[in-house]
């Protein structure tokens, strides 16, 4: 592996026979965006590739969390033509095609299936930096051509790029990129108060993501975990079909370990139990398993594709300011690793774990539920729900809030990262912690002037206008409203019966007894039966009163 420079761009070259594989990386990705500009890097990537097609397995682009890449495979000439084309395209984006690409991206987004990392990110990071992959590409529809161009000019520069080549470096390669600065890695925000934690995921799937220190022990642990999950969940218990664990280099010397499994609807709890216990205790890790994982890693190093992968990894490490590792470093790491190192990774992995579980609670494993609500609503004017329920909106001078049955969502204007303004008048206000407040005039009795005051209170840069299908506009739940009214009427009737009918009637009866008793006593004309009846009635009234009183006094829970 050697390093050179072409037109100011560092190039990592690993000589190898066969076609040339080249990947041009830029240090920009989704984690650099904001919720309101979400998708801008992807848009630039698409615009840059336009006209360089046809796109098949040989040439493509990709937008990651921290890195955007353009890759191709072919003869040295083909590779040089592609790379030079991409660079030219990036320096002068074909903005005339912006609207077409907006449509393409929307279609791509609609077809994309959410994976574990995408779903988990917002629970760990909120609606910022590394959490943004959980959110829709809100910026794609609204960003102006100038904004897209400015993003490209500031991020797709020769000082913010690295090229990885496996094979021969094409002679006469030019990379005509403007100058700029190397972008630092975005800092990771953290919103989980405690880990391990869990959040409710879609049915049939369970997963975990965790951050550990990057290195050989962590990558071996992922291999071991992969086999352990397969063994316990699939082979032995027969609860899952798909099980997998993997290791991925993250930011700032950290690596992400993810694992997932599917589970049959009837056996979700057993699957969760096995899955979590495998993560929780590292006692299944033994010397034989470790030796096998080391051997597997050595076998992978001997494969021809390893060189290309290592070259790409090296280039990305340079770009992201991480210490790159040579083949010798990796081999030495494999030799030095001990059982204790891997057990330590297993412990760290569990301590930082964020689980995704389908409708199963994980407190029994010492996990806390990831926060799903704010602590309180801000002070401000309240707007009742139109369905007559107890939920209400609050619009105050510091922020907006939603309260529903003791759960709250609050967004302070200073923490607002996105305000989606629908053309029908509804709004979604999203806070940095990922909690959103829907300001829906159809659902809450909130007026247009108040909504406009919210628009005015937030940073104009976070406002995104969106069209919405009429069917997507939330409506008050009419059935719920009817049920509430029926229930309220029943309660009123019950109260009326007790306070206006039953209790007065009982009181009058007792009084009548007393009166009759007095009369009977004073005139001395009462018969024996009447006296007994009166005494009995009085006694009953007294005992009833006593019972009520005792019940009231000793109503212990």
């Amino acid at each position: 592996m050697r390093q050179t420079v072409v037109d100011g761009v560092p190039v990592v070259v690993t000589p190898a026979p066969g076609p040339v594989q080249a990947t041009l990386y830029f240090r920009v990705g989704q984690a650099d965006e904001t919720a309101a500009t979400r998708g801008v890097t992807h848009l630039v990537e698409h615009l840059a590739l336009h006209g360089l097609g046809p796109f098949d397995h040989r040439s493509n682009g990709g937008t990651g969390q921290t890195v955007t890449q353009f890759e191709t495979t072919g003869t040295p000439d083909e590779v040089a033509t592609f790379l030079t084309g991409v660079c030219r395209s990036l320096s002068a984006l074909r903005l005339g095609r912006l609207d077409v690409e907006r449509r393409v991206l929307r279609t791509e987004e609609a077809a994309r299936e959410a994976d574990l990392e995408t779903v988990s990110a917002r629970w760990r990071h909120g609606a910022r930096n590394y959490g943004l992959i959980s959110y829709a590409e809100f910026g794609v529809g609204t960003l102006t051509a100038d904004a897209v161009d400015a993003w490209a000019t500031s991020h797709f520069t020769r000082d913010n790029a690295v090229l990885a080549i496996t094979g021969e470096l094409p002679a006469g390669l030019t990379l005509p990129l403007p100058s700029g600065v190397r972008r630092p890695m975005p800092a990771a925000s953290a919103i989980l108060p405690v880990t391990p934690a869990y959040f409710p995921g879609p049915g049939g799937w369970l997963g975990v993501t965790s951050m550990v220190d990057r290195g050989t022990p962590a990558s071996l642990y992922a291999r071991l975990l992969h086999r352990a999950l397969m063994r316990s969940l699939r082979t032995e218990a027969g609860l899952s079909y798909t099980t997998a664990a993997r290791y991925r280099v993250g930011s700032a010397g950290r690596a992400e370990i993810t694992a997932h499994a599917d589970a049959d609807a009837g056996h979700v709890e057993e699957a969760v139990d096995l899955f979590v216990r495998t993560l929780q205790s590292g006692d299944w890790i033994d010397e034989a398993e470790l030796a096998r994982a080391v051997q597997d890693a050595r076998t992978a190093m001997a494969e021809p594709s390893f060189a290309a992968g290592a070259t790409r990894r090296w280039a990305q490490d340079i770009l992201c300011g991480l210490p790159p590792r040579t083949r010798e470093d990796i081999a030495a790491g494999l030799k030095a690793v001990s059982l204790a190192d891997v057990a330590e990774v297993a412990r760290a992995c569990w301590a930082n774990a964020l689980l995704m579980l389908p409708g199963v609670r994980a407190e029994r494993y010492g996990c806390e539920r990831a926060p799903m609500s704010s602590r309180a609503v801000p002070p401000g004017r309240r707007f009742a729900a139109r369905d007559g329920g107890r939920a209400y909106l609050v619009v105050g001078k510091d922020g907006v809030g939603l309260a529903d049955e003791g759960r709250y969502a609050t967004v302070r204007y200073t923490d607002c990262v996105l305000l989606v303004r629908h053309t029908d008048g509804g709004r979604l206000v999203l806070g940095a912690d990922g909690l959103g407040v829907p300001l829906e005039p159809e659902v809450f009795a909130v007026d247009a002037a108040t909504l406009a005051s919210v628009d005015a209170a937030v940073n104009p840069a976070v406002i995104v206008d969106r069209e919405r299908d009429a069917n997507d506009i939330p409506r008050p739940d009419r059935a719920r409203r009817r049920d509430r009214r029926i229930r309220a009427a029943k309660v009123a009737l019950h109260r009326f019966w007790h306070s206006r009918v039953a209790f007065p009637a009982a009181t009058l009866t007792v009084m009548a007894f007393v009166l009759v008793a007095l009369c009977a006593g004073s005139t001395g004309s009462g018969t024996g039966v009447l006296r007994v009846l009166v005494a009995l009635g009085g006694l009953l009234a007294f005992l009833g009163g006593l019972l009520v009183w005792r019940h009231h006094r000793y109503a212990h829970w």
Binding site: M372, R407, W557
Partner: protein, 311 residues
């Protein structure tokens, strides 16, 4: 009924004032609905006072919720307010559920119970997230753990976090013992083992000794057979633990409960003579929490006292 009438009828004093005088300033502030005063009173609770008991007693007051919200409005991360809110939700949940076993409780009551307990768990999780060393919040989380059936391992973890900050915290011990009782998924052996361990880990004279008696009371409640406390072995274990409680003249928080528990256990064991020292300490006080096995506990207490001093 007026206290004077109870005295004339020789019924014991079961009022909170008599049982937990150390908590009264705090409870009075909560009853008055004053958030600031409540926070000050909580901060001024004796170092010896049991914060779990204090917060649970306050949760029984209908003003607890407004006090909690007042505290939280002033500071959303307030430990007292959040814990008090959790306590109130727990009390409301059990009020909605009623005391019957699950099989004899209507479904809608169980649903309400679960919803309220779930809210309590959320509030208390926030409290422990903000203040990981808040023993009262962790104690209450042992209760929510039990109600949500998270299992004994998690209950032990939460109990451990409560007693890590406040060693020998009686309220946390009592809640864990409930969890370890067979009715909540534990076993008799586990329950007795924990009771003995907690009782003897605490210094001599500590109310935690009462856990041994509580374990036997739970045992009787579980089997429905009063003979389990009448065996020589059981009386021996109880006597030893009672001696530990009586061996030092210290009154740690919950002492009325501990002596009430021993009085109940020795009463059931027909050991009036052994119950006498506890009745001496109790004078005319009784903690009904320790006498839940009996119908008309106050009258039974009166009878026990008569029998004990006659013996």
């Amino acid at each position: 009924m007026l206290p004077i009438l109870r005295r004339l009828r020789q019924l014991p004093d079961t009022r909170t004032e008599a049982l937990h005088p150390e908590c009264m300033a705090w409870l009075t502030a909560v009853r008055a609905g004053d958030g600031d005063a409540a926070r000050t009173a909580y901060a001024k609770l004796d170092a010896d006072a049991d914060p779990g008991t204090a917060v649970l007693l306050a949760g029984e007051l209908s003003t607890a919720e407004s006090v909690a919200h007042a505290c939280l409005d002033a500071d959303p991360a307030d430990a007292v307010g959040r814990t008090l809110l959790g306590s109130r939700l727990i009390v409301r949940a059990w009020q909605a559920r009623g005391g019957a076993v699950a099989a004899h409780t209507p479904q809608d009551r169980l649903d309400t119970f679960r919803e309220l307990i779930d809210l309590a768990e959320t509030e208390l999780a926030t409290a422990t997230g903000d203040h990981p060393d808040d023993a009262a919040a962790w104690t209450l989380r042992v209760i929510t753990c039990r109600a949500l059936r998270f299992g004994t391992a998690e209950a032990r973890r939460r109990h451990g976090l409560a007693v890590a900050r406040r060693p020998h915290l009686l309220s946390a011990h009592r809640e864990l013992l409930q969890q370890l009782a067979p009715k909540w998924g534990g076993s008799l052996d586990e329950m007795h083992a924990f009771a003995a361990e907690a009782a003897y880990a605490a210094p001599a004279g500590h109310s935690a000794a009462g856990l041994v008696a509580l374990a036997y009371l739970e045992h009787v409640g579980h089997t429905g057979d009063v003979n389990v406390v009448r065996t020589d072995a059981a009386v021996g274990v109880l006597t030893e633990a009672a001696e530990r409680l009586l061996s030092a003249d210290t009154r740690t928080s919950g002492w009325v409960w501990a002596h009430s528990a021993f009085a109940a256990a020795f009463g059931l064991a027909l050991q009036g003579r052994l119950a006498r020292p506890h009745l001496d300490v109790l004078e005319d006080r009784l903690d009904l929490d320790a006498w839940w096995l009996f119908d008309h506990p106050e009258h039974k207490f009166k009878l026990l006292r008569r029998a004990a001093y006659r013996a």
